[in-house]
Assembly symmetry: D2
Homo-oligomer: 146 residues x 4
Amino acid sequence: MTASARPPEESPILHLRVRFAETDQMGIAHHANYPVWMEAGRVQWLRAHGLSYRSIEESGVSLAVSGIELRYRQAARFDDLIAVHTHLRVARSRSMRFEYRLERADDAALLATGASVHVPTDRRGRAVRLPEAWLTPIAALVEPPS
Amino acid sequence: MTASARPPEESPILHLRVRFAETDQMGIAHHANYPVWMEAGRVQWLRAHGLSYRSIEESGVSLAVSGIELRYRQAARFDDLIAVHTHLRVARSRSMRFEYRLERADDAALLATGASVHVPTDRRGRAVRLPEAWLTPIAALVEPPS
Amino acid sequence: MTASARPPEESPILHLRVRFAETDQMGIAHHANYPVWMEAGRVQWLRAHGLSYRSIEESGVSLAVSGIELRYRQAARFDDLIAVHTHLRVARSRSMRFEYRLERADDAALLATGASVHVPTDRRGRAVRLPEAWLTPIAALVEPPS
Amino acid sequence: MTASARPPEESPILHLRVRFAETDQMGIAHHANYPVWMEAGRVQWLRAHGLSYRSIEESGVSLAVSGIELRYRQAARFDDLIAVHTHLRVARSRSMRFEYRLERADDAALLATGASVHVPTDRRGRAVRLPEAWLTPIAALVEPPS
């Protein structure tokens, strides 16, 4: 019971349940949750690849978000199990781009596609170069668009 | 592996990771997330006991929240794995009370204790009796305070 | 004093204060709040033009969000007063596009630009034509990009 | 545009509109928004009394939340104008208690009552005494329960 209660964390695909608090009066998951899910997806994707976003943050570097895009295809509903697929498309010392595909886990229906662009910053929010110690392993994970 | 990427759902204890979006400028999880986590905890608890809150909602009955209480003991931080322990203390046709214990999964440190009181309502928000079909199995799950 | 405590609602520009709960551990307003602020901005913009989004919703039509874009220029901080400037760029029976400019009110510094695309839907989420009673007054408010 | 577009900030009573993103599929404002509104209410209350919570934070002291309570009386709906009345009940160097009354502005209907208890902490989250420079003016604002 207890051991099985932990989420499996070896997968780069994040699975999450739509929370009741995330619904709106249209009866669907509100669109402003998707950037939050994309963020959780890339944290999980980093973890699955042996990289801890928490450690990056603790080293004094943040991957500040400089832009997002989202296209909503089909509504997600309360308690739906969502699979967040994260793909790193660009990894340079001063810019990174992730793309996302959000699917309903049960039938793989496409719910949304999205992207986020990031700029490494220091604790004061100034743009910096991503340290090589992070850039090298991250850059090895870039997938060209299929 | 992909199949293993789904959260285990047989446990009444919900495990969740603190999302970056849930932190605040004090560097901790903002206190207003805890009612959201308690809610997700009771949905999971119901599911683990064979009861679907989504089905209750779809039958036209909601468990509207009439009160909450929370005591915060220790801060939760970004990426912490949190275990939400849910206990049903009262289950009557017109009132239910859940209690919660939120722990950091890694060391079982107590983060917060909480409670929520609920009133069954119909789609217009009017108080109703919880149908027997739901009340009977739920009432069987009441645990007296230890 | 008391009468003056209500927000002025005749302006199409929404002013809002960054809430503490909206900050993150980078010490800035989390990027997922901006779609929420854009949404509040267009509700206020509609109101200032004599149109109630609540009434549109109550008539059974929603302006579902089919896409968003955001470019973040400068961070917003706790308690900053933000001005959300909303502009309607496209208004057709089956599609609308709004653009936004978010500024810090004190010095008019540009914080972010954004856009949202909408599809009129019925209560079941199916795409419908926006009724003429709403389309006509809304279409009169389209501003071409400057 | 007009000066009137800024919210009036001299009042200790915060007025806010329920955001669409704050609704849930029950068609009401989700209960987890109320702690956020209470927090915004006390920030406004401090401001109206010449005290800046931002300045307190910048001095390295936070008023960490150690407990909250809420009783929900009547649902708030999308676009409702809410008045948050804040009252300071206890102000000691190591503990403060605020109470709140949330009303619908149009008809003064009582929506919820709440309370929050706070502990002054330093940047590492350790409990500290509230500096006299803050405590003295704050303690002068205590109102005994009516």
